[in-house]
């Protein structure tokens, strides 16, 4: 028996504190458990945590200017851009020396590309100048100020130096500003010119269309889930196979099938024309726009809505409906007041799943979305593979991640994440 009257920590039989001896007894078990999950933990770390961390870092990282032009950055520190005068010879000399090193290492074009995001034209300046400056000698060819301006008159433009000075910081908010249609200029953050403001619109469209897709999945999935949960075993199994069938077909094939169905010479239009419901000139435009994206993605994401709803509905016994009816409720009241509230956890789980999946969807909008039906993810893909502006892609990705987490948090506050049942 434990001695409750005794003050101080409870002791084990051999006199050591009970907590200590319990910890010792459990240590072996804990170690063994940890070893069992170690491979998975390592895998998750390498394939999940590290890439996400890297992405987060890349969205603010800006080493390239200070790494490529270390002396210039140092020299520019004392230069006051607001005075309206070009930097003095010291800065030009530092720049020339940096460039000679950079050209040898072939780093100057990368820097040019980076600075070109901020001011168009700088990329070609660096490429042109690199060819000549690379042949110079850092001592014999001094002074450099006039020579550089002769090589490219951009070096005589005060703005060039202001851009270099502004982006010399190792950590920059520039990519994030770009991601929300703003930019970092020497005069501080300003909005992008009208014709370049597309990202916020894209974000808005992505959220809006994801909501519509989620909504149509709920509307289409709910009756099917109900059928699944209430049909006799045999029929329910067949229906479940039909629901799962899309999972076993390639995503690309399914998306392309929608192209076949929806295009202006496609199956649906042909049938409508043949039936005389529309004229040959008045064929419906159902693809390469938002409609096409919504239809195809609703179809693709539907199982993710049905399965959680089904698993929740399966646990709701028929007796609840019977009880409600015996208490005097009509079919509709029984459904709405008794059955439906109990399925909310399933709807919630399905909605989170579908919404999060669709907000980052890429392939389907790419194929059927045209220009009006693309998502923010298509823009991210563009910046990763075409414009090579990985910093901006990372910033967009980070914002997307933040939006999802924020929505998840809201959902937790409103509905409660404990109420979500995936199975």
């Amino acid at each position: 028996m434990s001695d409750t009257a005794q003050s101080g920590p409870v002791l084990a039989a051999d006199g050591t504190p009970l907590k200590k001896s319990l910890a010792r007894a459990l240590r072996l078990q804990k170690t063994r458990a940890l070893l069992l999950i170690a491979p998975l933990l390592l895998f998750v770390l390498v394939s999940f945590i590290v890439p996400i961390g890297q992405m987060l870092w890349r969205s603010v990282e800006n080493d390239i200017v200070s790494d490529t032009l270390p002396l210039t950055v140092q020299a520019l520190k004392t230069w006051d851009a607001s005075a309206g005068e070009l930097p003095d010879e010291a800065v030009y000399a530092a720049f020339a020396r940096d460039m000679i090193v950079a050209v040898k290492a072939k780093e100057h074009t990368k820097l040019g590309t980076r600075l070109n995001y901020e001011q168009t034209g700088i990329s070609s300046m660096f490429r042109q100048s690199g060819r000549k400056v690379g042949k110079w000698d850092p001592v014999a060819d001094a002074p450099f100020k006039q020579k550089l301006i002769d090589v490219h008159d951009g070096w005589g433009d005060i703005n060039t130096w202001r851009v270099i000075q502004t982006h010399a910081r190792k950590v920059t908010p520039g990519y994030f500003l770009n991601a929300i249609d703003m930019r970092l200029t020497p005069d501080g953050a300003t909005t992008q010119p009208e014709d370049k403001r597309i990202l916020i619109k894209l974000f808005g469209r992505t959220l809006f269309m994801s909501l519509i897709i989620m909504g149509s999945c709920i509307l289409l999935g709910y009756p099917i889930a109900w059928l699944l949960a209430n049909l006799p075993m045999r029929q329910a199994n067949i229906l479940l196979i039909l629901v799962l069938l899309p999972f076993w077909t390639s995503l690309l094939v399914r998306t392309s099938a929608w192209k076949v169905l929806l295009q202006s010479q496609g199956v649906i239009n042909e049938i409508l024309v043949w039936l005389g419901l529309i004229t040959d000139e008045g064929r419906l435009v159902m693809i390469n726009n938002q409609f096409g994206t919504i239809v195809a993605m609703t179809h693709i994401l539907l199982p993710f809505m049905i399965l959680p709803m089904y698993s929740v509905m399966q646990t709701i016994p028929q007796t609840y409906l019977r009880a409600a009816k015996s208490l005097g409720a009509t079919n509709w009241t029984a459904f709405w007041r008794v059955y439906f509230p109990q399925t909310v956890p399933g709807i919630g789980a399905g909605s989170i799943l579908v919404f999060i999946l669709s907000i980052g969807y890429y392939i389907t909008p790419e194929i059927v979305g045209g220009t009006k039906g693309v998502f923010i993810s298509n823009r991210i893909a563009y910046h990763i593979s075409s414009s090579l502006n990985w910093g901006l892609a990372a910033a967009l990705g980070t914002i997307l991640l933040a939006v999802v987490l924020l929505l998840y948090w809201c959902y937790d506050k409103i509905v409660g994440i404990d109420n979500v049942k995936l199975g």
Partner: protein
């Protein structure tokens, strides 16, 4: 006490049949009338059709043939929500997303009752089942017995005259079940409601009911008050289903219809006195049934001219309130005798040889 007359029947099954697959009948030609204020139990093994009958009455199953009448009105085509019948389900079916008070308020809300009236009725119903302080709880926060009370209160709160109960105590432990049996009975008596109660537990049926309908194979085998049912089973199914029962096989030797007695020659050759229940001819095979507590081995208490049988004690079991002794009688090794644990009662020992007997009216010759 309940009326058994058809003319003032409150609930009436008239030649009701039910089939699910069109090949076999689950309920075969059911005729049953239940009086106003009666507590009727449908008792039977699973698959005997008793729950189907209850569901037809509630409106969740439709009768394949025949009429069901409630207070004189045919209700075959009235949907369940318009029948106004209260129902307590096996697993209570309390709505998990509503509080206790909301559960009770639900039937009143769908009847468009005003808020203050609703609250008063809910509170009265909760007080009735001694759960007055639990209105704000969720069903999941209540114990099984408490949920049972709430389910009962919910079935009663809208003042239904007829309440159906589908094995409502099945999920409770023994002690609580016994307690709830009396409580349900008292509440039903106080409110004067008619109760149709389905169970497969014969003790429950005997303790609670005014009348019990024993179901088997889609038919009512016997419909009688509990004491009649127990003491005068009409056939061997009822005799064996209700309570414990000793059976001996034999042939009818002599029938005296005037005195309502029959002598039966058991398979081992011995002769016993019985009353014929559903045997009519000499030479007919019969199953003789005697209740364990009606068997007598004290010579002083036996009739002088009663036929007795030789019995060997095989096992003596002390059960507290009673002694249970297993005997070998006429080749039957599971012949049970129950005796009350009284100060003067003799404890038999294994190996003893006794003469046993009984009053002829306790020994019933039934169908084999």
């Amino acid at each position: 006490m309940a009326s058994t007359k058809t003319d003032d029947a409150f609930v009436e099954f008239d030649r009701v049949q039910k089939s699910y697959d069109g090949e076999t009948l689950v309920v075969k030609d059911l005729n049953l009338s239940i009086g106003r204020g009666e507590f009727l139990t449908m008792l039977g093994p699973s698959g005997s059709g008793k729950t189907t009958c209850l569901m037809m009455l509630a409106g969740f199953e439709t009768a394949t043939h025949g009429d069901i009448r409630l207070g004189g009105t045919e209700i075959n085509n009235i949907p369940p929500h318009k029948r106004g019948i209260g129902m307590v389900f096996q697993n209570y079916a309390l709505f998990p997303h509503m509080t206790v008070a909301e559960n009770l308020s639900f039937p009143l809300e769908v009847r468009k009752m005003g808020k203050s009236e609703r609250e008063a009725k809910v509170q009265r119903a909760l007080d009735m089942v001694q759960m007055g302080d639990f209105g704000g709880r969720r069903p999941a926060q209540l114990s099984g017995g408490q949920q049972q009370r709430i389910a009962l209160a919910r079935a009663l709160v809208f003042e239904a005259e007829l309440v159906l109960m589908d094995e409502p105590l099945g999920a409770l432990d023994k002690q609580l079940r016994e307690h709830m049996q009396f409580e349900i009975k008292h509440i039903a008596d106080n409110l004067g409601i008619t109760v149709v109660y389905v169970t497969h537990d014969q003790t429950e049926a005997l303790t609670m009911s005014d009348r019990v309908a024993v179901f088997e194979d889609g038919r009512i085998q016997q419909l009688d008050p509990p004491d009649t049912l127990y003491e005068q089973p009409k056939n061997s199914f009822v005799a064996q289903f209700i309570g414990e029962n000793n059976t001996l096989m034999g042939k009818v030797e002599k029938i005296d219809n005037a005195a309502n007695t029959a002598e039966v020659r058991l398979d081992d050759g011995s002769l016993i006195d019985t009353i014929p229940v559903n045997v009519s001819e000499v030479g007919e095979r019969t199953l003789v049934s005697i209740r364990p507590e009606r068997v007598e081995f004290n010579k002083d208490r036996l009739h002088a001219d009663a036929h007795t049988l030789k019995a060997e004690v095989l096992e003596f079991i002390y059960m507290g309130d009673i002694y249970r002794t297993r005997l070998r009688v006429a080749g039957n090794e599971n012949f049970i005798v129950k005796t009350r644990n009284a100060p003067d009662q003799r404890r038999l020992k294994a190996g003893e040889i006794l003469d046993i007997g009984w009053r002829p009216q306790d020994c019933r010759a039934l169908d084999a």
